[in-house]
């Protein structure tokens, strides 16, 4: 941000397009799709990201708009963060009471290592899987992996792939699953609100939106907890990756890939044995 952000306000084409997207999507409104015991909420913001993406492939949007849109995401996220802040103040006693949960849930962000890393190794990925699964793979993590391994290393390719995936699909995917998980699992909406601080502004918006829409009577509390969780993640997230997430991923990768090699060798040995006989 700053000096290079030149004349963003002059890109009228971009602002008019976004205004039109907002007007259209807010007019369409919210749809709830029952899916088994849960509900998938289709919110205006979800149509907005899809329409915005689709417009890139029309003559309406040029590369210039697309480039300018990036700092505008950042500046509009800052309004969201301000909203988080003013919701958090009045809820401060509640937040302090729930302090331990708020702090410790940061360790839950390591859940990716236990869920996604074994899958990546199972699917046959090598050291790429370290870059891919050590974190949610946003800007800070991209910088960390690049700094440590270089961008052309397998780890670097992994984190880059995840960065691209998250950029394009992250907010759509998390926007779809957040409301669904909150309605289908026995977990409390407040727990999910605390989980929205994943380290990306647009993903925070996309994951909190369905929660607020599904539980409107709790909207202020949910926003407050989401806000504090985002605040904590923004301060601790990178250090969490450096000191816990990445070392843990590397260790787990070594164990998993050794096990896999052993099994493969055993399987091969077995086949040879059969052949010989």
């Amino acid at each position: 941000m700053g000096e290079q952000a030149l004349k963003l306000w002059k890109d009228w084409r971009l602002h008019v397009i976004v205004l039109a997207i907002v007007a259209v999507t807010e007019s369409i409104g919210t749809f709830a799709i029952p899916l088994g015991p849960g509900t998938i909420l289709l919110l205006p913001m979800l149509y907005a990201v899809v329409i915005g993406l689709a417009l890139y492939f029309t003559p309406l949007v040029n590369d210039k708009q697309s480039i300018n849109a990036e700092p505008l995401v950042f500046l509009s996220v800052s309004v969201l963060i301000a909203k988080f802040g003013v919701q958090a103040g009045p809820a401060l006693p509640q937040i302090i009471e729930a302090g331990p949960a708020l702090l410790l849930q940061e360790f839950g962000n390591l859940g990716t290592i236990f869920l996604a890393l074994p899958l990546a190794v199972f699917l046959g990925l090598k050291r790429e899987s370290i870059g891919m699964t050590h974190s949610i793979g946003r800007e800070a993590n991209l910088a960390l992996i690049t700094d440590k391994y270089g961008l052309s290393s397998p780890e670097g390719r992994g984190v880059m792939a995840m960065y691209i995936f998250g950029t394009v699909f992250g907010s759509i995917f998390i926007g779809l699953i957040s409301g669904f998980l909150a309605t289908v699992t026995p977990l409390h909406p407040i727990s999910f609100a605390m989980a929205t601080g994943v380290g990306s502004g647009s993903m925070a918006a996309a994951s909190l939106g369905p929660l607020v829409a599904a539980f409107p009577e709790m909207s202020e509390t949910l926003t407050a907890f989401s806000g504090v969780s985002n605040l904590i993640s923004s301060v601790t997230g990178l250090y969490m990756s450096i000191f816990v997430g990445l070392p843990l991923t590397v260790k787990m990768y070594e164990i998993l890939s050794k096990n896999k090699e052993k099994k493969e060798k055993a399987a091969k040995g077995g086949v040879n044995y059969v052949k010989k006989s």
Partner: protein, 150 residues
């Protein structure tokens, strides 16, 4: 600093106008009723961006914005009730929709890189997001239940 301040103000006026429109169409709040609220939120954002520039610490600017908003609305702070009252008029979802509209336009450029990712990356990516999100929620749930809060 002054140059980017002017730039920020102009951009925020545009973004604010878009948010007011969405707040009106989607959530039936008349723009002039939500205007003080959005002005306050923009003021807090600007204050956070400026403090971020001025202080030497390596904290992201959104951390300052969140902290300023929080401090201003702690019960007992002068004006806290008014700030809460006005900003309540600005619906959270009305703020989120323009963010994701800008994000949609911005991610168009990454689309060709995206389609070149293999199916394995896409599947693993979904598990990364799922694991991160669900992992936090489960830990929060366990501790909140242990404390008897929920």
């Amino acid at each position: 600093m002054l140059k980017s301040l002017k730039e920020w103000v102009l951009v925020f006026i545009i973004i604010g106008a878009i948010m007011l429109t969405g707040n009106w169409i989607g959530y039936d709040v008349l723009p002039w009723n939500a205007l003080p609220g959005i002005a306050i939120l923009i003021g807090i954002s600007l204050a956070g961006l400026i403090v971020h520039r001025l202080l030497p610490f390596q904290l992201p600017s959104i951390a300052y914005i969140g902290i300023i908003g929080l401090i201003l609305t702690i019960p007992g702070m002068p004006g806290a009730e008014q700030i809460v009252m006005y900003t309540t008029e600005v619906n959270l979802l009305a703020i989120a929709t323009p963010i994701l509209a800008y994000a949609g336009v911005s991610i168009g450029r990454s689309w060709f890189d995206f389609v070149q990712l293999g199916w394995k990356t896409i599947v693993i990516g979904m598990f990364v997001l799922l694991g991160t999100f669900l992992g936090s929620a489960v830990i929060a749930e366990v501790i909140l239940r242990f404390q008897g809060i929920i």
